[in-house]
């Protein structure tokens, strides 16, 4: 297993995404509590944690679908906390959804095309949407199934459609919520290579993933979320050794804890 060498966290100007002190409460449930996080451009950052830890909620806060009770979100140094979801998307935040949010009545190609068209409309520059859609279909490996209606596709492929759609917005930051569930082992590896390639092109990726193997292989830095708090942050190697993390995962399942400890 190859682990890319961790990059220095603060090189150059402001990091791509800088989140500080985010609180979210749902009635009595404290879903997020004082969450700080930094995601640099050009790398894949991992966010792991047991079920219900608040990972998806964190994504929703970053992309503007969920209001936070407290906290600041900076994108490339600019405060976006007050912006609406679509405005944040135009500033360069794209995402996929754990609970799929595809345009199910449309074909895979149209899913990607509509995103490219929207981007072209407001940006007034950029490649021709139709050509861009074809390029991305190729990139995510959906060329052969471009004309299928997405509702009828298996989950794994539908997730790739979401990835393609997110890429069609020409994002700076990509939030991926469990993108590999529904993919088999070889597809998962292929997906990991794609992520590394995207990051190498300068994209900042924040990856939520239960497939520990994938996380360990592509992430240069990891955050561990537990009960809405950041439990630990560091390189995959550091996280594997962290006793707190092992304890948290022991609450979920021995096997997972062993997996965290054992991979790499």
């Amino acid at each position: 297993m190859t682990v890319p060498s961790p990059e220095p966290v603060r090189s150059g100007p402001a990091p791509l995404l800088e989140v500080s002190g985010v609180d979210v409460r749902f009635g009595g449930v404290q879903a997020l509590q004082g969450v700080d996080m930094t995601v640099p451009a050009g790398t894949v950052t991992g966010l792991i944690g047991p079920n219900g830890a608040g990972k998806t909620t964190f994504f929703n806060v970053v992309c503007g679908l969920q209001e936070a009770q407290a906290g600041r979100i900076l994108l490339a140094g600019g405060d976006i906390s007050g912006r609406k979801a679509y405005q944040r998307a135009r500033l360069g935040i794209a995402r996929t959804f754990q609970r799929l949010e595809v345009f199910g009545s449309m074909t895979a190609r149209d899913n990607i095309l509509v995103a490219a068209e929207v981007h072209r409309r407001w940006a007034r520059t950029g490649p021709d949407p139709s050509a861009e859609a074809d390029r991305i279909l190729d990139l995510v490996g959906l060329k052969a199934r471009a004309e299928e209606q997405v509702d009828a596709m298996p989950t794994g492929l539908a997730r790739l459609v979401e990835l393609g759609r997110a890429l069609a917005t020409a994002p700076k930051l990509l939030l991926l919520d469990e993108p590999s569930s529904g993919l088999d082992e070889s597809e998962s590896e292929e997906f990991g290579r794609l992520l590394t390639r995207l990051a190498a092109d300068g994209l900042g990726v924040l990856l939520v993933e239960h497939d520990i193997e994938l996380v360990m292989s592509v992430c240069s830095r990891l955050y561990v979320l537990d009960f809405g708090r950041i439990l630990a942050a560091g390189t995959p190697a550091e996280i594997q050794r962290d006793p707190l993390v092992r304890a948290a995962y022991l609450g979920v399942g021995d096997q997972a804890a062993e997996e965290i400890a054992g991979v790499g």
Partner: protein, 641 residues
């Protein structure tokens, strides 16, 4: 002082009656997740049934009352749930709305056929007589309403907090799956709630009826006031609903007492709608809609060439029809076509964009109004205004209701239509009675028919082109998932306002054509109920295709002809109602069925044009497999290789 008290008593009684209706609505909605537009119609039907037993067949009043409220109503409620509602769990709002509206029309049509409105019917007074409290006269009937309502409220409260059944009912609302896992059957619970809801509807119908003579339409539409109260309770909270209902009753009663009579008769009925509007708008921001699995294969959008071909064929058909049809049949054929234009606006707005509108005839009426009032009633200027003014109103409406989605959007457009009935169409300062509307270009009957057909064809081709293009993709995306739209940087507001404006413009044009075809129009042509029928018709035809609007137009055109040859009265109402109910099992409408058949034929012919694969998840249950349910993920995490 006495006067105030008297009005308070009347208002309280009225409020109690509204509370009974609204409570039934809330109970069924929270437990089954389906907003029952037919709630009032069920109450109406039961009130008539009660009249039949007590007056028609001379049963003793208490026996008739018990029979209706405790036996017949719950039985029909349970039956309705079993036969009509059950296939709808997990269906889109558009479908549930159309099916329950269909039930409304069916019951209305049935009641009209069974109890023809040629004689006036009065319910027997249950407790005649009156007494005085602090010199305020209170009738025993009023006292009884108060007592019954309080008893029902207390009973419901007890049911939901202290009994197993009631607690399960509440649990179903929060989490269907969880309830199922806990061993209670959500379906059985929902059935119970429909039985209970029907009982409450019957009780309300029977108790409200003595305030007026029995009338199908009025009794059915009284529930619209109930909608307002239910929305105050956010369709969930019974105490808030009751409070809203009492407030409504009191406001109405004091309005009767203190508003000048002429003003009151004009705006009185719109008061509940005003409250409904306010209650809707003060709701906090709703979440963006999320994707749902319908398991439905979407139909291909027709390409330009075939759509031009079909448009040409349609115009040719109209030319032929204009020659062969008798004047009477020509009239209904033309009506179908001009209303078809209004239906096209629904295809765009509701079919493509997923924005349910129950006020398209109101906008059409504004179009007819512009056409008739401006420059002699037959000018091009009038026609332009007939597009522009409704479009502007549509845009304004869109901005006001922007935050609302799903059932709340539907209710807001319904409130708009209902208020416009009173504030504009039936107001001497507004529409002002019968209005003569002229024609632009062709003046003869045949010529105008062809003109209207050409317009319909052009609009049809245009709507299809819009759907195929970039805006159409954005509309479809909006219909599928607003959350995803926002995530790709789409300005949802802009798309919504645009589609409302364009659709309203088309509806306005349709209204102007309708006026021109009829020669003169009145307020009745543009009533809320007509909007509902139109929506049902086009859904029956297939609301997501232009062909659907065409099919609906043709059905509308020829149903009077069919009516003449069969002995059933209210054929159109019954057919549309029954058809809409049938939709619960076959969404997609007539056009959808046709395209399914076409696909099968194509498959059999061996040309593999469209792959017909079964969707990965074809039912509601399938949604779970896609939603990344936490439990499934936990297993994966713990047990992965």
């Amino acid at each position: 002082m006495n006067l105030i008290l008297s009005y308070a008593v009347v208002g309280l009684v009225l409020g109690c009656l509204y509370a009974l209706t609204a409570s039934g609505l809330v109970v069924t909605y929270t437990t089954s997740g389906i907003f029952n537009f037919a709630h009032g119609a069920i109450g109406m039907f039961m009130a008539f049934t009660y009249w039949q037993l007590a007056v028609g067949w001379h049963l003793p009043v208490p026996l008739a009352l018990a029979l209706v409220v405790l036996v017949l109503a719950p039985l029909s409620g349970a039956l309705i749930e079993r036969l009509i509602v059950r296939p709808l769990y997990g269906a889109s709002l558009g479908i549930t709305l159309v099916v329950t509206l269909g039930l409304l029309l069916l019951l209305l049509g049935l009641a009209d056929a069974i109890w023809p409105p040629v004689t006036t019917r009065q319910l027997p007074s249950i407790f005649p007589g009156q007494f005085r409290v602090f010199s305020v006269v209170v009738t025993f009937y009023e006292l009884m309403v108060l007592v019954v309502s309080v008893a029902v409220a207390v009973g419901l409260r007890f049911l939901f907090t202290h009994t197993r059944v009631g607690i399960t009912m509440r649990a179903v609302v929060d989490d269907r799956d969880l309830t199922a896992r806990a061993g209670a059957s959500p379906v059985r619970t929902a059935q119970l709630s429909w039985a209970l809801g029907a009982s409450l509807a019957a009780l309300a119908g029977i108790l409200i009826a003595p305030l007026q003579y029995l009338d199908q339409f009025n009794l059915t539409l009284l529930v619209v006031t109930g909608y307002a109260a239910a929305v105050v309770g956010r369709l969930r909270s019974l105490p808030l609903t009751v409070a809203g209902a009492l407030l409504l009753g009191l406001v109405q009663s004091f309005a009767t007492g203190y508003l000048p009579t002429n003003l009151l008769s004009d705006i009185g009925p719109a008061i509940p709608m005003g409250l409904l509007f306010i209650a809707l708008l003060v709701r906090r921001q709703e979440r963006l809609t999320q994707a749902r699995l319908t398991g439905q294969r979407s139909r291909r959008v027709l390409d330009l060439k075939p759509s031009l071909f079909l448009a040409g064929g349609f115009i040719a058909l109209s030319v032929v029809m204009s020659e062969v049809l008798s004047p009477g049949n020509l009239l209904t054929y033309g009506q179908g076509i001009v209303l078809g234009v209004v239906m096209l606006s629904l295809v765009l707005l509701t079919g493509y964009g997923g924005q349910v509108s129950l006020c398209q005839m109101t906008l059409a009426g504004l179009g007819a109004f512009c056409m008739g009032k401006i420059a002699g009633g037959n000018s091009l200027l009038g026609l332009v205004a007939a597009v522009v003014l409704p479009a502007a109103v549509g845009g304004l409406l869109a901005l006001v209701v922007l935050r609302l989605r799903g059932i709340y959007l539907a209710l807001a457009t319904l409130a708009f239509a209902y208020s416009m009935d009173y504030l504009f169409f039936n107001h001497f300062l507004g529409f002002g009675g019968i209005l003569a509307v002229g024609r632009v270009a062709a003046q003869s009957q045949k010529g105008f028919l062809v003109e209207a057909s050409v317009l319909f064809a052009v609009l049809g081709v245009g709507v299809l082109a819009l759907r195929r293009g970039s805006f159409g993709r954005r509309l479809a995306a909006l219909n599928d998932s607003e959350a995803a739209c926002a995530s790709i940087g789409m300005n949802i507001t802009a798309v919504k306002v645009t589609v409302f404006v364009v659709a309203a413009g088309i509806a306005g044009l349709g209204g102007a054509l309708y006026g021109g075809w009829q020669g003169q129009v009145g307020p009745d042509d543009f009533q809320m109920l007509t909007s509902l029928i139109l929506l049902l018709l086009v859904t029956l035809g297939g609301i997501d295709t232009v062909g659907g609007a065409f099919a609906a137009a043709i059905f509308y055109a020829f149903s009077p002809v069919i009516q003449r040859h069969i002995p059933i009265s209210n054929f159109q109402l019954l057919a549309v109602g029954a058809g809409a109910i049938f939709l619960g099992r076959n969404p997609g409408g007539f056009a959808g069925q046709l395209s399914l058949v076409a696909d099968r034929l194509r498959l059999r012919a061996g040309s593999a044009g469209v792959p017909i694969t079964a969707p990965a998840a074809s039912s509601v249950d399938g949604a779970g497999s896609r939603s990344g349910a936490p439990s499934g993920e936990a297993v994966r995490l713990a047990g992965s290789h």
